[in-house]
Symmetry: C2
Subunit: 361 residues, 2 copies
Amino acid sequence: MNASLLSGAHWPGLIEHYREFLPVSDRTPIVTLREGNTPLIELAAVGERLGRGIRVWAKFDGLNPTGSFKDRGMTMAVSKAKEARAEAVLCASTGNTSAAAAAYAARAGLRAFVLIPEGYVALGKLAQAVIYGAEVIAIRGNFDQALAIVRAVAERYPINLVNSVNPYRLQGQKTAAFEICDQLGTAPHWLCIPVGNAGNIAAYWMGFSEYAERGRIRERPRLQGFEASGAAALVGGSVQPVARPETVATAIRIGNPASGSLAIAAAQQSGGAIRAVSDPEILAAYQLLAREEGIFCEPASAAAVAGLLKFGHEAASGSQVVCVLTGNGLKDPDCALRVSTLEVSPGLDPEVSAVARAMGF
Amino acid sequence: MNASLLSGAHWPGLIEHYREFLPVSDRTPIVTLREGNTPLIELAAVGERLGRGIRVWAKFDGLNPTGSFKDRGMTMAVSKAKEARAEAVLCASTGNTSAAAAAYAARAGLRAFVLIPEGYVALGKLAQAVIYGAEVIAIRGNFDQALAIVRAVAERYPINLVNSVNPYRLQGQKTAAFEICDQLGTAPHWLCIPVGNAGNIAAYWMGFSEYAERGRIRERPRLQGFEASGAAALVGGSVQPVARPETVATAIRIGNPASGSLAIAAAQQSGGAIRAVSDPEILAAYQLLAREEGIFCEPASAAAVAGLLKFGHEAASGSQVVCVLTGNGLKDPDCALRVSTLEVSPGLDPEVSAVARAMGF
């Protein structure tokens, strides 16, 4: 075949593409679904609302293979699990983490276990992990007990813990910062990002800092993190756990963020902040993104845009702003059905004029 | 900023990337969600089953912005609608087409209408289009009447029809063939693809043929199209409509394919064929993809892999085969729940040894 005329420009997945920045070696078997390389999409309608020449883009990480940014960390965590000759991976998460863990474990030929507190979790949320073959185990006890057990199991058996305590996950996640700089041709002035367990904002800071150290960017962005107001454990500038977190944005419904201190430090060092947006603000941004930008994301992702709309007056004129959309809207169809009333015009006569009239023509 | 050190290698969307192959001009306002550039993922477990050195990849087009390959055609159709100063777009589809139409119309600032036969359609399938702001109109009548009306409306009013009769859609869809050649560095020997309305297989043939004409590839692949056996209108070598198509693969549950003749001609010219796979074969491939490859696609997409597993013995040793996965599994969570029984081990005591035992350690 005439290969020389073609680029063969196959995106190899984020580990191969950013290998020099990652703790892998020739002995690491790379487990990849060609994650990363997600699109940067300009948000013209959001930019217009802000005015003053501010331009805004979405980094749509919901277009990763399992539908969330978790794939970035999981390609690292599962590759390292395989390198360490683990026989299985284990997590105590029920949302996007368990789906990503199950998919990469399936690809690696490892078993994947998800530990949940009995009766605690809406099982529907686990459906995606289960289709990838995850095995679900319930314990009598609460979520903290589940976390303690997965840690202890991972210490004693050839099983790798892929919860957020796994250090390789942030290593993989930091590559999203690299991609944004590579795609934009520069670092943005602001990075707006949802904050739940708070690891991702810390990972972005690591990524921007490494690019700055290597001289690939001159300045790092201000990190503007946004929690849901019903789960705002970090907005006071220290970790103040919320006993009963409540928000429509389930992916950031976390009362005691595992990486809270890291996240606060990152935001402060960058000259940014972690602040809260309300559920109505989140849902307004969620609908704006769908109805004016054509982007359907998870409610939690919309927190980044909600925060920008709320605090964007603080950004300098002409700023370049990137909002991180962490998950795919298809992950949470219930929310879509709740916010949009499906009003079907009642059955019209099958006549052109009647239909045109119903359409306002 | 230090832009010179960065690539700024922003994927611009498929129209800009393949502009020389597409009917657009400087006057065409490009409406894009940075669609295309979807990953090519090796399917090692499928390859192993075939043996004889055959290598298999998935072109996972379910990672397009609205979750299906329809985005490729819709960026073209809506850009041309905007160029023609249409005020709205219109379709009589209820699945992936209506979602893509609504998203691109939202981005273009056009209204999007979806016409359905009253009482005919499961409204849940329309949820994605509605979140993007589509307006749904029901008529008394059947699907054929709905199709007739949308054609007549589009003729008389400043409204563009974006159903499969819109010729720009296949133009956009053909770029997937370009991408596969660019990513693989050559054309594959076989292309396996689901066949429903039959436009996509014809679009791929157009794409491979244009690349061959320009000398970018030397040989075109054999096209192996797969219908569901309950909706197999083309397997006899002519269009033989199926009155009541039935299959679990809803995206290809089409009894009278609009592009049937084109599809048959394309398959025959290529030295391939259009054949049928059963629902059990489709679901087995669907589960294999999830549980062994870590890829969650729509059931219809799995028809491509089911067909390869069924007829792959006909491929030459050492062949390179690409399977087109047209849609994201998150589009059809009901199917995932049906095939995978979620068996949660009953609540264990919160003790490490009990949990380890339950895991088989």
